[in-house]
């Protein structure tokens, strides 16, 4: 009986291992993009715009704009949201916009701490699409050289641009009209 139990346990362990290997192979066969493109960012923003506009007091605000800055976690979740702009009015409006914005989901990606800036404008009771989306990805810096550990990402980025190894980042593209 103990032999049979051991065999059954081993069969279970082998099956679990094979499932893990299959899951890992499937995940690795379709790697996540290192950076998100402007198009990939714009779509969730456009989808979420009606929910933001429905915040009480937001639709009644005077014409103007709101600037949003946030980071996108690798899971696609927006984090570290900062709001500014005259349209926000009261704290209640800002809290509502914040809450609903944080419910948006962006595509998963393989970059850590991708920063995004966007502006939403309102004119004559119409909310304009987000027209100014800027991605500020972390610089991958010059390659093939070992950097001192005390160098931070800002230094690396400055240095990479200064050395000319990175004229402009591939992920930054002009927003479509």
């Amino acid at each position: 009986v103990s032999g049979l139990l051991l065999l059954l346990l081993c069969q279970g362990a082998w099956a679990a291992e094979e499932e893990d290997a299959a899951a890992a192979a499937a995940r690795d066969a379709a790697p996540l993009p290192r950076y998100l493109s402007v198009t990939e960012l714009r779509q969730p923003l456009l989808t979420g715009l009606p929910a933001l506009a429905a915040c009480p007091g937001f639709a009644a605000a005077p014409d103007g704009s709101v600037e949003l800055r946030w980071r996108i976690a690798p899971s696609g979740e927006p984090v570290d949201l900062q709001l500014s702009g005259p349209m926000l009015g009261s704290d209640d409006v800002a809290a509502c916009v914040r809450l609903r914005f944080l419910e948006l989901r962006f595509p998963e990606h393989d970059e850590v701490g991708e920063s995004v800036r966007a502006v939403v404008a309102k004119q004559a009771d119409a909310f304009l699409p987000f027209v100014d989306v800027q991605i500020e990805p972390r610089s991958i810096g010059p390659l093939f050289l070992k950097f001192p550990r005390e160098l931070n990402s800002a230094d690396l980025s400055t240095w990479a641009l200064g050395l000319g190894s990175m004229a402009s980042d591939r992920a930054v593209a002009p927003p479509s009209p």
Binding site: S2, L9, V112, K146, G164
Partner: protein
């Protein structure tokens, strides 16, 4: 036989002897012996450790890599960037890697998925290392028979700050050395080449023109393995956008190949190089960086 047994039972009935029921003991004994054999040969992990060709393809292989990197840099052409005053530095790197066959290409080359299951680095291994983003990421190593490296795909996710496979590109030939077939005591030349191509304008291509010697059959973790020593010059070309560079150095090491399975069992290495990068400037001479990099480490196959 059945008829004979039936006749015996009829005779026993006629003589008044008790009739014996067929015993299940042999079946249990058989199952028990199978289970005991399984347990004594490694339990549930027995399938992974078997040395047959089928096992080496189907089951992932796991390796642990420990290395230290000593770096010394010289910068010419500028004094204004934050690296100028950086001290010489030693970094300890600790990796666990899992390799598994992923696909076969039409030219007969094999794709091997290399997953870095854990990666930690720091100044001192004894004082504690911290996790780096290389952990959890994978690339595909495409090799010909004999482990000759043809290409490494998906590496763009493993380069740059905090990931640094571009600095540790020697891990490719460390994982996939390419010794020639040799008799004991015999020596022959065979180069190891590996391209780490991040993008068309970002790559390093390395070559070690090694001379190999078959030292003989030795024991590694109680298993017989062929030990092959090598040494030779290390050269390479680099490109990083507009910057271009070159590599010069030497490489030496020992590789242990499991005699039964042909799998890589261990790889000790001591590789030195000088990386020269030239960053052009719109005006003036630009920047020239020389960096001495000295890698010393060991790869070892692990069962867990």
């Amino acid at each position: 036989v059945e008829e004979g047994a039936r006749a015996v039972r009829i005779m026993q009935a006629a003589l008044g002897a008790p009739v014996r029921r067929p015993s299940m003991r042999p079946i249990f004994q058989l199952l028990l012996s199978v289970a005991v054999a399984s347990a004594t040969s490694g339990g549930c992990a027995a399938r992974q450790r078997s040395g047959g060709a089928e096992a080496s393809v189907a089951a992932p292989q796991r390796f642990r890599i420990d290395l230290t990197l000593d770096v010394r840099s010289v910068v010419e052409g500028t004094a204004s960037h934050p690296w100028t005053a950086a001290p010489d530095e030693r970094t300890a790197l600790e990796l666990t890697v899992e390799t598994s066959a992923s696909r076969t290409f039409r030219d007969g080359s094999e794709g091997t998925l290399v997953r870095v299951t854990a990666a930690r680095h720091g100044a001192d291994a004894e004082a504690g290392l911290e996790a780096m983003e290389l952990g959890g990421r994978s690339f595909e190593l495409r090799v010909f028979e004999g482990r000759e490296i043809l290409a490494a795909d998906l590496v763009e996710h493993l380069v740059g700050p905090a990931r640094q496979l571009d600095v540790y590109d020697l891990l490719l030939p460390v994982l996939s050395p390419f010794p020639p077939p040799l008799d004991v005591g015999q020596s022959a030349a065979r180069a190891m080449r590996w391209p780490l191509v991040v993008a068309p304008d970002r790559y390093v291509r390395g070559t070690v023109a090694a001379t190999w010697t078959n030292v003989g059959l030795v024991e590694v973790e109680a298993s017989p393995a062929w030990r092959l020593d090598y040494q030779g010059p290390w050269t390479g070309k680099l490109r990083d956008g507009r910057a271009q560079g070159a590599v010069k150095g030497t490489a030496s090491g020992s590789v242990w190949i499991d005699a039964a399975s042909g799998a890589l069992a261990r790889h000790d290495f001591d590789w030195k190089r000088q990386v020269e990068m030239r960053y052009p400037a719109p005006e003036g001479e630009g920047v020239r960086i020389l960096q001495d990099q000295h890698f010393v480490g060991r790869l070892q196959q692990v069962s867990e």
